[in-house]
């Protein structure tokens, strides 16, 4: 027969629950009264929350609560505040000329900070987070500029891009001399070696300078110039320097001459506001290579 009387543990003086495992009995220690009261109060409090704050999901929306609180509205307020704070400074940035921004430590710091952020969001995918570039994507830290490295030229390139389809975009491209049948393979090899020799790089055995010079003079000088120093108006790179956008080995140069090159820089006008583009130009210029 079950014993219904409460069993008291002799050591602690506390009632047991009557449950027993491996001869160990469970003590019946109820929760403290204050704890239980606090627990029930917090449940009541939670119910109050349902009515005051957004709480229950509905089919297409949710209950909004008496206070009409919304974290999205909070964000909107914060963003408006940010715009207000930033606004005054950005107006100052917009009013100053590019050269004056670089001379004013406060504006320079602002432009660099703004530029760095926007660069990370928009430019880093191609140019890299530190603007160090990659094959086909120019390194913006160096002093070699396809379309010119002054503040105004940099800003123009950012605004309208290169071969971007924008009406004011930089145009001009490296033709596919091999693919289009303008040059024969042996002519291409010759001119490739000529171009490498311009930068002091080695030429392949049996290369005749005369052949390379002839091909270069007939086909390349129009854009790259008599001395191979390039032309920023056309985006024709300087062939005599140490920087090679697509690589300096013979195969890479032959590839460029055979199939042509026409890297695209998007136009940012309309996608970024004018003041931001200005900040970007200053930022890129200040990376170290600006002229």
């Amino acid at each position: 027969m079950t014993d219904h009387r409460e069993e008291i543990d002799s050591v602690s003086g506390t009632a047991t629950t009557g449950h027993q495992w491996d001869d160990i009995k469970e003590l019946n220690t109820p929760l403290p009264r204050w704890w239980v009261i606090a627990f029930y109060l917090s449940i009541i409090w939670a119910v109050g929350y349902w009515f005051v704050y957004p709480a229950w999901p509905l089919l297409t929306s949710n209950t909004t609560g008496f206070l009409g609180y919304s974290s999205r509205a909070d964000v909107a307020v914060e963003l408006a505040n940010l715009d207000k704070i930033r606004g005054e400074k950005m107006v100052a940035l917009g009013a100053a000329s590019l050269a004056d921004i670089e001379k004013d430590p406060g504006l320079l710091a602002l432009a660099r900070a703004r530029g760095k952020t926007v660069f990370g969001d928009n430019c880093a995918p191609c140019h890299g987070s530190g603007a160090a570039g990659a094959k086909g994507y120019p390194n913006l830290n160096d002093d070699d500029w396809l379309w010119g490295g002054t503040l105004d030229q940099i800003m123009q390139t950012i605004q309208f891009g290169a071969r971007s389809g924008h009406a004011k975009a930089h145009e001009g491209q490296m033709l596919a001399f091999g693919k289009d049948g303008v040059l024969k393979p042996d002519q291409i090899v010759a001119v490739a070696n000529y171009v490498r020799a311009l930068s002091g790089l080695s030429t392949r055995p049996g290369y005749e300078a005369a052949a390379g010079t002839k091909v270069f003079a007939e086909n390349c000088v129009a854009c790259h110039g008599d001395n191979g120093k390039g032309n920023p108006e056309l985006g024709a790179p300087n062939l005599t320097d140490k920087i090679w956008l697509y690589g300096s080995d013979e195969a890479a140069v032959i590839e460029s001459i055979t199939n042509g090159r026409a890297g695209v820089m998007p136009a940012w006008e309309g996608r970024l506001d004018p003041v931001t583009i200005k900040a970007m130009a200053v930022y890129v210029h200040s990376l170290g290579g600006g002229k």
Binding site: S10, E102, D241, K242, S286
Partner: protein
């Protein structure tokens, strides 16, 4: 169900409950040497605490003129002629070491001097007891009033209300003084009064009002007995030579009433000086009996010494039956030898030396600390840039710190790669080889510095580069080292 009784060693009857109800302490007023010392120290400590924020110190135009100010928004700490920047918090490490060792030294010399005289808990509790005594009367009256079963009269209610009002006023002033250390005091007082002070000021005042009121008005000696770690540490740190508030049982025992003692003395018997008057217990703010020997609860405030001395004087026996002493001397006196006091011991020498050494290091560091500094951070991406003529360029973020109260022209010299040139972005220096930069007073300025080395001039993958900065006007210098890397 019948259970066999647990074996004897498993019976817990000797272990009492873990909870003990507080026995309210009613310390009696007392006068004497130690009481006077305590009043004096209380006046000094509270005076410094409450009034220091109002002390002015001229630092020139544009700088705060508060002698002691923790300026969080501008990240500066001002202490009279010292101004510290956040990166100099190591001075506080030194201060904390000195504070800890000074505590050890006090303990080695005179026991819990800190607890008895200087600890804020003691000072404020003492002040609150003084208020209580002034309004509700001394020990016996307070005990009687508390024990009275009569319904409260208006007089008693007004007493209680008055006491708590004054307590709250002191507590509020305590919290109020605290926030004044973090902002210009006169301005903040004005703002507080006109309810224009920042919410954080009111919150901090409220929190410190609450903690002062509760700790000094209600928890009192329980803070020392249960909350504070120092009594435990102190007990482990002390030695047999340290002087503690001690009942000299060699002289005091055997306790006899005054009348009986006279009779016994007349018969030529030896009797103790303690007449069991319990005055030492009555004045004790922690409610213990010092005659039971050294106890964890005892904060060694010395009030029992005053109480006993006045009794001994009245009955014509020598004073200092309770006094600063130790067991060694009690045993020596019992053996008929003179007491000896050894303040100079290995531990006091070591503690004093540590304080002296750390203090000297701090003083040296403070006197020779640089008011011009430079930090250099190498660009991580790209690490190095090859230019069109084959030369190599590294970019660095250079931060200049001008800790003086005026603008300064700083020249940058770079000592690194052979034939390297330096350019600071945004700075058109008239001296291109040695760029000059203006750094505003009491601030830092960050610049992008480009170092370019000619092609093939540096065969090493990485060479050290040193940035020397010089204050052109004062000749102060600072430098920082980084590396120049080739791709």
């Amino acid at each position: 169900m019948n259970k066999p009784a647990p074996p004897a060693d498993l019976q817990y009857d000797d272990v009492g409950p873990l909870y003990a109800a507080r026995k309210k302490v009613y310390p009696q007023s007392v006068s004497g040497t130690f009481r006077r010392i305590k009043w004096g120290l209380m006046a000094v400590c509270l005076g410094i605490y409450y009034f220091l924020p109002f002390v002015r110190w001229n630092r020139g135009l544009g700088a705060p003129d508060q002698a002691v100010l923790i300026d969080f928004p501008n990240r500066r700490f001002y202490f009279f002629f010292i101004e510290l920047w956040p990166q100099e918090v190591y001075y506080f490490t030194g201060l904390l070491i000195i504070a800890a060792v000074a505590l050890f030294l006090m303990n080695a010399i005179g026991g819990r001097i800190w607890c008895g005289y200087l600890c804020p808990q003691t000072v404020w509790t003492d002040l609150f007891y003084a208020v209580e005594r002034l309004i509700e009367g001394d020990r016996r009256e307070r005990m009687k009033k508390d024990a009275s079963a009569d319904p409260m009269r208006l007089e008693r209610i007004s007493e209680i209300v008055l006491k708590h009002s004054i307590w709250l006023l002191i507590a509020w002033w305590t919290g109020g003084a605290w926030v004044l250390y973090f902002s210009d005091a006169p301005t903040l007082v004005k703002e507080l009064v006109t309810f224009q002070a920042p919410m954080t000021a009111y919150i901090w005042i409220a929190m410190l009002t609450a903690s002062t009121y509760l700790l000094a008005g209600f928890m009192r000696e329980q803070v020392c007995t249960y909350m504070c770690p120092w009594p435990r540490i102190q007990a482990a740190l002390t030695d047999e030579w340290a002087l503690n508030v001690t009942y000299e049982y060699d002289r005091g025992e055997k306790r006899t009433s005054l009348k009986k003692a006279a009779e016994l003395r007349a018969q030529g018997e030896r009797v103790g000086d303690c007449i069991d008057c319990y005055q030492c217990v009555a004045v004790c703010p922690t409610g213990i009996d010092i005659r039971n020997g050294p106890q964890l609860e005892c904060i060694q405030c010395g009030l029992c010494i005053d109480a006993c001395d006045s009794v001994m004087t009245r009955i014509g026996r020598p004073t200092r039956l309770i006094g600063y002493d130790n067991d060694i001397n009690i045993q020596r006196r019992e053996a008929g030898k003179p007491p000896i006091y050894r303040v100079v011991r290995p531990r006091t020498i070591v503690y004093s030396s540590v304080i002296a050494v750390v203090g000297a290091i701090m003083l040296y560091a403070l006197l020779t600390r640089s008011l011009l500094d430079v930090n250099v951070l190498h660009d991580r991406n790209p690490v190095a840039v090859k230019l069109s003529d084959g030369s190599i360029r590294n970019a660095y973020t250079v931060r200049l710190l001008n800790k003086r109260g005026f603008d300064r022209v700083i020249a940058i010299d770079v000592d690194g790669p052979v034939n390297a040139t330096v350019h600071v972005v945004g700075v058109d220096s008239v001296t291109p080889d040695r760029p000059m930069i203006v750094v505003g007073r009491d601030q830092t300025a960050e610049f992008r510095v480009l170092v370019t080395a000619p092609a093939d001039s540096n065969p090493e993958k990485s060479v050290p580069v040193r940035f020397h900065v010089t204050d052109v006007g004062l000749g102060e210098v600072a430098s920082a080292t980084d590396n120049f890397v080739s791709p």
